[in-house]
Symmetry: C2
Subunit: 372 residues, 2 copies
């Protein structure tokens, strides 16, 4: 639990006229703390310690400002959802405001605890101590269980480290979760027996907490080690609770629904703080518009120093192709989990394993020099 | 469960060059369904039924387009989180795109089921059959339990219908949930005994599902009837699960963290679909920038026809003042739950009950004619 003087330091980006930015910053500080006119705050301690404090106003030109506000860490308690509420609850409803960054005091970082396994734990799972890791995807949604299991087998025969359900796979009539799970898990086990490989099947999870919890237990019974979920949809407090309860499992965080007014760099940092062992995001130059700078920021957020938290793995995806592997390894070095989805599925099924081996071969053979 | 032909019809707003909008619409349809190059989709049934279909492209001028896409309802299964993922999972990560509306087939509306109590249920709770309802707030965060209970007593003596914890009250050292709950509940009961009133205390809830579930049980044991939570933070699937499990309780949905790329009108509609008995939103002319048109849209979304779902109560707030009550009642008629927070707290404590009576008196005495 944070003490009364510890602060969560939050930075917002907004457009405002220079003559009004100080007043606006003060409004944000109030909205995200006591949320009431200061005339209604009659307690001096509260005015001093709980009302948000404007720390800095930075003019970024063109009518844009970065406003840094210190909030009392004690207003969070120990709850991840309340942290989100304090960072960007009501002010998310203002037009033209973005949440750029948040720095938590060590006590709060320790409360949430970060990843159980992290980048190094994922490496150990697949024996990738000295190289980048690879992940393929089971898709499209609409395929039946048999077709998905067949695809999983072919991808695993190609030696890819992880095979995740596409995040569009949920619990649908064409591939219900409880039949897909054992079928795909067995297909990957069979491929590993055939090839001597260590490919890991990663089921995708959706649902309320009790559904997630029940499915995680099924996944553990199946002997799997890694799962994927989307914290911006299922709720970050649920991620914290589930990674504590199912501590043997590693969690990949999918960015579904995280677009909007929160910086993708901050999302990735929050995913790590709340327990994601890897943070998935759209790489620069793919189907989405993320810049090289954003990707660098995400890498720093997930594996740079952050209290005593373990590093998570940056997991770029979103339309990566085999042809880009050398470039991607040059950029990320050995500290990435590369997601190659659709590009492995373009060749006909009888070529899937060979195409996958091109990927895994390139990643194994790369001369890893410097790292990002 | 939806059949193979039923569609979820989704409308996105985006900026694009006219020459490229068709290609862009097709990309969105693919991204939000099979999420893979169509060349990798080898099953004809899947191409026909599961790949998203562009239904309409509407030019709204100034380079803005509305794109309507039909998604197979079968891709949702029965899960609220997967619905969010299908509506705005990956495409939320595109810049310059907004989710404007979604129409669900009757089978999916029936799966989620809407509010257990709704507008009429809330009316019955407080005996407000022929007038609007009122709600005050316990704040600011940072006050101790005794001060909050004292404030609850004073507000209840003024005859307000509901007194909610401010959404900034969570489980913090200055007012831990488990001591705040019985203290404020008892303060309101005492006021009701003194005045013969029927004020309802509405605790605010944060946390992972197990925490929410445990606190809802405490709230039921305390004999309370209404709670507040923020579905955009705690996860919409958790709202569905909790409103089913704790069906006797009514749920107010707070919009915290819902600002961004999803229309507030759609959020309000989704809150209703997933089970919120009232949807809170910032009223026009308050601290936030919502327009009159947006507020009209929200009212229609929460209480207009929607399959067989009960109507929810529109609950405008965000800086409403006593002085605006006649205007607000003229606009909303009897079908609203008016949130008056800070304005009731500006007067010194000894004046709180009298100020609150000005509010409740004005709402009771208003000549309700037409409704919005």
């Amino acid at each position: 639990m944070a003490n009364a003087q510890e602060k969560v330091v939050v930075r917002y980006l907004l457009r405002e006229e220079a003559s009004r930015i100080e007043e606006r910053a003060q409004k944000i500080a109030i909205e995200q703390s006591v949320e009431t006119p200061l005339a209604a705050v009659r307690d001096a301690t509260l005015l001093r310690d709980v009302v948000g404090q404007v720390r800095e106003i930075e003019d970024r030109g063109d009518g844009r400002f970065a406003v840094t506000i210190a909030l009392a860490a004690s207003t969070i308690g120990e709850d991840a959802d309340q942290l989100i509420n304090m960072l960007f609850g009501n002010v998310s409803l203002y037009d033209e405001i973005r949440l750029e960054d948040a720095e938590l005091p060590p006590s709060l970082l320790a409360v949430f605890g970060g990843p159980n396994h992290g980048l190094e734990g994922l490496r150990r799972l697949v024996g990738a101590q000295h190289r980048a890791m690879t992940c393929a995807a089971l898709k499209p949604q609409g395929l039946g269980v048999e077709a998905l299991a067949d695809l999983a087998f072919r991808l695993a025969c190609g030696g890819v480290d992880f095979i995740k359900d596409d995040h569009g796979l949920a619990d649908q009539p064409f591939s219900p979760f409880e039949t897909r799970l054992p079928a795909c898990a067995e297909a990957v086990r069979k491929a590993n027996r055939d090839t001597g490989g260590a490919t890991r099947y990663v089921p995708s999870l959706w649902g309320d907490y009790e559904t997630l919890d029940r499915r995680l237990s099924l996944i553990e019974e199946e002997g799997l080690a890694v799962v994927m979920l989307a914290p911006a949809v299922v709720g970050v407090a649920n991620l914290v609770a589930l990674k504590r309860k199912h501590a043997r499992l590693a969690f990949l965080a999918h960015p579904s629904f995280s677009g909007g007014r929160v910086s993708p760099i901050l999302w990735a940092k929050l995913f790590r703080i709340f327990g994601a062992d890897a943070a998935i995001y759209p790489n620069y130059g793919g189907r989405f518009g993320y810049s090289v700078e954003t990707c660098r920021g995400i890498v720093e957020a997930v594996k740079g120093p952050l209290g005593d938290l373990a590093a998570s793995a940056p997991a770029p995806g979103g339309g990566l192709t085999l042809a880009r592997i050398p470039e991607l390894l040059g950029f990320y070095g050995r500290d990435a989990l590369l997601l190659i989805g659709g590009d492995l599925l373009l060749a006909p099924p009888e070529r899937t394993s060979a195409t996958t081996r091109e990927l895994t071969g390139a990643v194994a053979a790369f001369a890893y020099g410097s790292k990002l």
